[in-house]
Subunit: 155 residues, 6 copies
Amino acid sequence: MGLGLYIEDCKIGTTYKTNGRTIDQSDISLFAGLVGDFSTIHTDAEYAKAMPHGARIAHGPLTTSCAIGLFAQLGLVDGTVIALLNFSFDMKSVVRGGDTIHALVTISEARTTSKKNSGVVKFSYDIRNQNDVTVQLGSMTVLVKSRAAEQGLVI
Amino acid sequence: MGLGLYIEDCKIGTTYKTNGRTIDQSDISLFAGLVGDFSTIHTDAEYAKAMPHGARIAHGPLTTSCAIGLFAQLGLVDGTVIALLNFSFDMKSVVRGGDTIHALVTISEARTTSKKNSGVVKFSYDIRNQNDVTVQLGSMTVLVKSRAAEQGLVI
Amino acid sequence: MGLGLYIEDCKIGTTYKTNGRTIDQSDISLFAGLVGDFSTIHTDAEYAKAMPHGARIAHGPLTTSCAIGLFAQLGLVDGTVIALLNFSFDMKSVVRGGDTIHALVTISEARTTSKKNSGVVKFSYDIRNQNDVTVQLGSMTVLVKSRAAEQGLVI
Amino acid sequence: MGLGLYIEDCKIGTTYKTNGRTIDQSDISLFAGLVGDFSTIHTDAEYAKAMPHGARIAHGPLTTSCAIGLFAQLGLVDGTVIALLNFSFDMKSVVRGGDTIHALVTISEARTTSKKNSGVVKFSYDIRNQNDVTVQLGSMTVLVKSRAAEQGLVI
Amino acid sequence: MGLGLYIEDCKIGTTYKTNGRTIDQSDISLFAGLVGDFSTIHTDAEYAKAMPHGARIAHGPLTTSCAIGLFAQLGLVDGTVIALLNFSFDMKSVVRGGDTIHALVTISEARTTSKKNSGVVKFSYDIRNQNDVTVQLGSMTVLVKSRAAEQGLVI
Amino acid sequence: MGLGLYIEDCKIGTTYKTNGRTIDQSDISLFAGLVGDFSTIHTDAEYAKAMPHGARIAHGPLTTSCAIGLFAQLGLVDGTVIALLNFSFDMKSVVRGGDTIHALVTISEARTTSKKNSGVVKFSYDIRNQNDVTVQLGSMTVLVKSRAAEQGLVI
């Protein structure tokens, strides 16, 4: 049911809004265990209470990964993405356990590769919390199929 | 027991090697569920079998996060890191379930902030698999404490 | 230590009460990830707050599965069940994170199969929350061993 | 990005095919722990080896829940479903760790409720494994919104 | 459905045999993450391959905990245990991912407390793998209720 | 980056303090599922509310395992530990969901084995909560390498 966008379908400036998703403390703890990052700001409530944010916070890559997951749920490049090339994110504000994020994802770059059999698309992310405050800004660049190539129009 | 490096201790060019860590299919599945990214290349063995890589592969951000976790386990900036500022990674090769990664982490930038009360350090990552093949190249930039500032030597 | 009920032991009308078990939001989140159902009513606290129930709710099949698990813990057909045949449940009320369920399980059908070497037993479930309000009504039908057959009395 | 089908959009006979999803032994173990059902056929490899199926098998409700999750990923009634009313499934064949399921989901009933402000839709599931063998047959009945009611055309 | 043994019911020398349970690599990984013990012998397949055991092994406390869990599933002191007092285990052999353990649990001590309102019971564990090789020997000591006290026969 | 202590480095009386770590209810639930111990004091909030502690409590072995994990994070015997020999713990006070533990770990025994090619070290644990109240007292005994043996000085 995905949109299955080919490079030809990607228009610079198009913005998609993902669903929201709450990141609970239990998600932070599960992530800490899964990736092996037990820094105390994520795992020690007493320590975190005394820090500027006043509570344990989500690992930056957890928030990023959840936003990428929310975007994947839109099915935008479902079946047409060939590979993930890069992701790059700046942290703007912390996410505490219980915060709810969503992302505005905009096609900021879209070009056919030199071989013309695929395309490179950069999706720019503005990840926001429940108060519409931006918590991360970044991008994910992927390689997607070319319809022309798939239809044999590219030699 | 961490090294607790201050900005004054960070020497450009120093390289640290993390422990190794196996990313099993069960880790990929747990990550898919935690971040909500069920793209079939990660979750459908039959589909993946027919793809170029021949098997389900790890989400790029999972590999990155595990490498960051392995680096955290070294305790290098334990207690002196103030905030994560940015991370940016290029995918170079896939990680299949059962592959074992480690990272070579090099201090590639280190400078005192203009207010001189903290420093910015860029750790460049070369994430490799069990065959010493690079799977991701990237960096993580963090804000760390200044010893001078902590000792009241900065006004 | 299970009771190991054979079809001959199953008396229609007998009711068993399971232990209680709290379904936390962390269980709902883990289930969402495990089965890949990220519908916002289960995963987005902000969205759920504005819905009639006022909070994220458990997936119906999670509540059912927990009730079946609680019943399994009684060890009633431990070692004598041959197969699960069917389950069917009606939702009666929602389960929010933090609610505690238990089940009243009644043998509502019990008959020897035509080949007489096993029996079919229907366990009717009344799943209730901590206020003794029914949240689901349903049944689970299983195939169980026949003692007569096991003792060689059935040809 | 969901289709957001209203009762007016649901045509009896329409069939949707979900993505595939592999159910690994690690999923079975996680489910056993989450719902508290440690029956040995799911958790004891040695015991299971000696049973007819020759290996640990998935809990029936796990397979069902994964199929419902796969259907949810299609976004068919995203934002228009009001409530889950019932689910009922017959087990047809076992799912072993490593099997990959998908589902064919057909609208088998669709009717406006007597108050005309919503509709009842029954989705019939044919859950199949990687060999296209049916492992469960069943249905899920949900209450969905009426477009007419939402547009104020129903008094 | 538990036996609910009171101190008066505990006879020294009685032995109970638990069900079996397979400890998969995915369980070892989940445990590593949950308790934060990422020692490479548990998490790095390449490192472990070169070690005497030739594979990643279960954390000792994971095996112990699973054995205590298997014993809890027997429901022996369900509802009559007041508190866990001590556990002590010697490692005898390693458990690799995929091994299946069970335990022989023997009442080795049972005495009424001086106040006579409860009793102390020591359960000695012989934890074995699928080849009936002992992997751990140890004990768990608990405080259980006295039936006499519960019936008001103790002043 | 571990200290990699050999038996020659272990001085009786040396005490190490671990980081803190919060044990949330979600950790207790995950542990219950992982090890299969669903005793109601850990999993039924309503039952637990009526018990002396007023809330669900952590399984004793979970607290122990987390303390051992915190100690492992110090990297003290990283790369020099050969085997875990024994652990033994007395419960002193309960840990409720949300409590934060840390441990004071003291070398209480250290001796070279008779073959002189390794050493036995006993680490005594004083596990405390956020109010500095001892919750468990115990020890973990491990076999560690001898530097002399590693350097070929022991025949």
